[in-house]
């Protein structure tokens, strides 16, 4: 987890450039993602962090072309191994989805079709992408159920979703996502809807499988604990923009953007009894409203005059690393987090 491992152009599996997502509705359009750039290296885990409504899920869903076409417009380039998947048709995208890129969702309770058996749903992508026959599909499905740590695989195959707990269903979702050995797994808040004890098991499972298969993972989360345990790189999003990016170690140990700083300060610290938990005042702005200048400035404790007029761009802060921050008044190197305490 150090910067020595940073990638060269060659092992960039996925490059996203200037990704924009606009949601269209009869009340007007809303720019939910406002030009996001990032790279995902082979075998790496990238975390996208932010509060709800900051555009992180929209980013993930647009990578898979899963946003509704009638109400979402996607612009920008998404290069998977150098070829732009942004321009693919629905039918062409079907060769990518499930095979090269797979996704698991936040809500395992509703992610499975209630009318079909687990075995059938698990077998679907295997038959379609790998062209296996019935028996081979069955063997592969059982193998996957074992892989995600569910006992009694044969019995599970015959079960229906409502017979399984949330944690089990999420394991089934993971098995389904892994079925065709994808290059990239996108996990969109995979533990948010689960019990705390189950959360840890699922993250542990994802980490184990990632190590074993060497696939790349994009994990969307607002849980910085998950980030520190699992991710290599992290990008922090706010109001549809990347405000800070870098390696997990750098960003979590030494946050430069006031927003990242605020997020970290709002995590309860067991060692520091008696310290008052900090929150970031205010809410994520509605994408329909227009804010002049930096989108974070209404909630920012460090804002200056310039922040109200200009939008800061993402810029490298230190020549030695790839750390980038979009802020006119970044938190100083090693400045104490407590500074933001009003």
């Amino acid at each position: 987890m150090t910067t020595e491992q940073r990638g060269t152009t060659d092992d960039r599996l996925l490059s996203v450039r200037d990704l924009k997502v606009t949601f269209l509705s009869r009340h007007g359009s809303a720019l939910a993602v406002k030009g996001v750039d990032f790279d995902l290296a082979r075998g790496k885990v990238l975390a996208i962090v932010g509060e709800s409504g900051c555009g992180k899920s929209a980013t993930a869903m647009s990578l898979m072309h899963l946003l509704p076409r009638r109400s979402a417009r996607i612009e920008g380039r998404m290069l998977l191994r150098g070829s732009d998947i942004g321009a693919l048709s629905e039918a062409e995208m079907n060769d990518v989805r499930g095979k090269h890129m797979a996704i698991i969702f936040q809500e395992p309770m509703t992610s499975l079709n209630p009318l079909l058996t687990i075995g059938y749903q698990l077998g679907e992508p295997i038959r379609y992408h790998l062209g296996l026959d019935r028996a081979a599909t069955q063997r592969r499905a059982i193998e996957l159920i074992d892989l995600v740590g569910i006992p009694a695989a044969v019995q599970i195959m015959r079960s229906y979703p409502h017979q399984l707990s949330g944690g089990m269903r999420q394991r089934v979702m993971i098995a389904m996502a892994l079925s065709c050995d994808p290059d990239i797994l996108i996990a969109d808040e995979p533990t948010t809807a689960l019990d705390v004890t189950i959360q840890a098991q699922i993250i542990e499972l994802l980490r184990r499988i990632q190590r074993r298969t060497g696939m790349s993972v994009i994990i969307i989360t607002h849980d910085l604990g998950v980030v520190s345990e699992f991710a290599d790189e992290v990008i922090v999003m706010y109001a549809g923009r990347v405000v800070e990016s870098g390696s997990v170690y750098e960003v979590l140990e030494d946050p430069r953007h006031p927003y990242t700083n605020g997020l970290l300060a709002s995590i309860p610290d067991i060692d520091d009894e008696g310290e008052r938990l900090q929150t970031i005042p205010g809410n994520v702005p509605n994408p329909r409203t227009v804010t002049e200048g930096c989108w974070f400035h209404p909630r920012c404790v460090r804002k200056g005059e310039r922040c109200e007029r200009e939008v800061p761009t993402l810029a490298t802060v230190e020549a030695a690393s790839r750390r980038q921050v979009a802020c006119f008044h970044p938190v100083e190197h090693n400045e104490l987090r407590e500074l933001s305490d009003g």
Partner: protein, 305 residues
């Protein structure tokens, strides 16, 4: 599964009992039963025979008991028009009615679900606007006029299909279409709403994320999940469908139970009317049972409940 069916079956006798109670009340309590069964030219002997047969001299409770007993035995009395047991007359026509209703049901399911699915997939486009408008228009359209329009166009003007009667396949097209029109508008609207709602379900997103073809997503994941409201609606509308078959059979001179019933009223052939009503009600209750079985086969959650 068995427990579920048992719970549904419990109401079957209740429904039938209610029907029998209603027929009994209307026939015996709304006036002098002799006036209902016999016309003005009756002889005292006929009155005496009917009083004996219906036990009109006994208390009402006893009469109801005897009425129930006779119905259970399938004895509805003799048809005045045909001189044979009324039940026999009705059962003779049952096949024709079932044929008509069956074909109409098939048409309604295919056209209704296809129309609703197309409207949902092309939401707010031209196809949707046209289909949805036709559905609303269809709801306000008396099916007997629709039948008459179909006759004018396909039978009288184009001469493609016969106006009425029973015979080959050509004879059943117009009546079946007319009867199907009772269900198609609602099937379209329910399917449209169902498909739109189901497409927003997370599991459809999962299916799409697997990269399987869109047609398969629609047929395997979306449509089966919209069948529940369609089947439930069908269960509720079976009565309407049977009622519609009476009108349709009358328009097209289709020799089924419905037409028999209407002509028997004008002939004052009360035993046949009552037998026909009871057979139709039994058919509805049994068809409801079939709907329930279909629902439970479709949805494992219902099966286990």
């Amino acid at each position: 599964m068995l427990g579920y069916l048992w719970r549904r079956l419990r109401y079957l006798p209740v429904s039938l009992l209610l029907v029998l109670f209603m027929t009994f009340s209307v026939l015996r309590l709304t006036g002098n039963p002799i006036d209902i069964y016999l016309d003005m030219n009756r002889t005292p002997e006929q009155v005496e025979a009917l009083t004996q047969k219906l036990h009109l001299d006994r208390p009402l409770v006893v009469q109801f008991g005897i009425y129930l007993r006779d119905v259970v035995k399938g004895d509805f009395g003799e048809s005045l028009q045909f001189g044979v047991p009324a039940l026999e007359v009705v059962l003779d026509r049952l096949g024709n009615t079932l044929q008509l209703v069956g074909v109409a049901l098939g048409l309604a399911v295919v056209l209704g679900i296809a129309g609703g699915a197309v409207a949902a997939l092309r939401r707010d486009r031209l196809a949707d606007v046209v289909i949805s408008f036709l559905a609303v228009l269809g709801q306000s359209m008396p099916s007997f006029w629709l039948g008459i329009l179909l006759i004018q166009f396909f039978a009288l003007r184009l001469g493609w299909l016969p106006t009425s009667g029973q015979g080959g396949v050509a004879h059943i097209v117009l009546p079946a279409l007319t009867l199907a029109a009772y269900l198609i508008p609602n099937f379209i609207l329910i399917t449209r709403t169902g498909v739109i709602e189901t497409f927003n379900e997370q599991f459809v997103l999962t299916a799409r994320a697997k990269g399987i073809p869109s047609v398969r997503v629609l047929l395997v994941h979306v449509l089966p999940n919209t069948l529940n409201p369609i089947l439930s609606f069908l269960g509720l509308q079976l009565g309407k469908l049977i009622g519609g078959s009476i009108i349709t059979e009358s328009i097209f001179a289709w020799p089924g139970i419905g037409r028999l019933m209407v002509s028997s009223i004008f002939q004052r052939d009360i035993p046949v009317v009552i037998a026909a009503i009871c057979i139709m009600c039994i058919a509805i209750v049994l068809a409801n049972l079939l709907v329930d079985i279909a629902l439970s086969m479709l949805d494992p959650r219902i099966r286990e409940a």
